[in-house]
């Protein structure tokens, strides 16, 4: 793999990891709020 290939791989892992974790938090907050609302 070329140098740029390794660099792209690394950036996809880090940016993908941060975005995936952030999105999972937002999703879990949304689901938990919905549960809270349903229970009044």
């Amino acid at each position: 793999m070329s140098d740029w290939g390794w660099v792209t791989f690394g950036y996809v892992v880090v940016y993908g990891g941060v975005v995936a974790y952030g999105a999972s938090l937002l999703w879990r907050i949304k689901v938990a709020r919905r549960k809270l609302k349903a229970r009044g």
């Binding site: 660099v7 690394g10 880090v14 938090l25 938990a32």
Partner: protein, 249 residues
């Protein structure tokens, strides 16, 4: 403006700041000049170094918040400690992953039992253990008290990991920025690195605030469940009371 809408506005700005910071850092990383020795591979530094430094910071916050809990006995501090540890584990995992991806083309191996790599792996598993310990204790007060010990002791690993390359013969290079004297790096590369560091610090704050928000909603749900006395799956079935005068036919 109500408190709730003001908080929502602040969160929206923080969301935008995190996304913007990541994009700016990406721009600096891609357009900075290549290194004279490593060429374009040096761009790995702009994600690898900030992720490990942010992980150090996150674990330091865990320790400070744990001490805050021990002094005040307020579970708010414990929530911050646990949330920061989780975000720190994510950043540390990413730092280990980028180190492996950088190591393969430069060292020829994904992993080696070098002092820096080994101590970092130990730190990763200890903080995973901290999170596992918390999940194993249902009572919030007992959970906070027992995990506080590990939350404070585990932080000694930060100097061990950081100075491992100084104390032992290591394949990993010595510190470039956090070292006695001036940073050993050319200014355009240092600029891109500092932008990356600030960007990932902003992302850390955003993730921490969101994780604390989630923990608070979960705690409220748990409290409501406990108050409403709704039977939960896994709860033991109580035996019927046979002493109250019921007649058996």
């Amino acid at each position: 403006m109500t408190n709730a809408s003001s908080d929502a506005n602040t969160m929206r700005w923080l969301d935008l700041a995190a996304v913007g910071a990541l994009l700016v850092a990406l721009g600096f990383a891609l357009f900075s000049p290549p290194d004279v020795v490593q060429g374009d591979l040096t761009r790995m530094m702009y994600i690898h170094v900030p992720t490990i430094l942010v992980a150090y910071g996150a674990f330091a916050v865990t320790t400070v918040a744990t001490i805050g809990y021990l002094i005040t006995k307020s579970l708010k501090w414990d929530t911050i400690a646990a949330s920061s540890a989780e975000v720190g584990v994510v950043f540390l995992g990413l730092a280990i992953a980028t180190g492996m991806i950088w190591g393969k083309p430069v060292w020829g191996v994904w992993w080696t039992w070098d002092a820096r790599l080994t101590t970092t792996a130990i730190m990763f598993f200890i903080y995973l253990g901290y999170l596992g310990l918390r999940r194993s204790i249902p009572d919030p007060v007992a959970r906070a008290q027992r995990s506080a010990i590990l939350g404070i002791v585990a932080v000694v690993q930060i100097p061990i990991v950081h100075f491992s390359v100084v104390w032992w013969n290591a394949l990993h290079q010595a510190p470039t920025i956090l070292r006695p004297g001036d940073p050993q790096i050319d200014s355009p590369l240092l600029g891109a690195l500092l932008v990356g560091l600030v960007a990932f610090a902003i992302v850390y704050v955003w993730l921490l605030v969101r994780r604390v928000q989630l923990a608070n909603i979960d705690a409220e749900l748990e409290a409501r469940d406990a108050a409403s006395d709704v039977p939960m799956a896994g709860e033991a079935v109580s035996a019927p009371d046979l002493t109250s005068g019921g007649t058996a036919s």
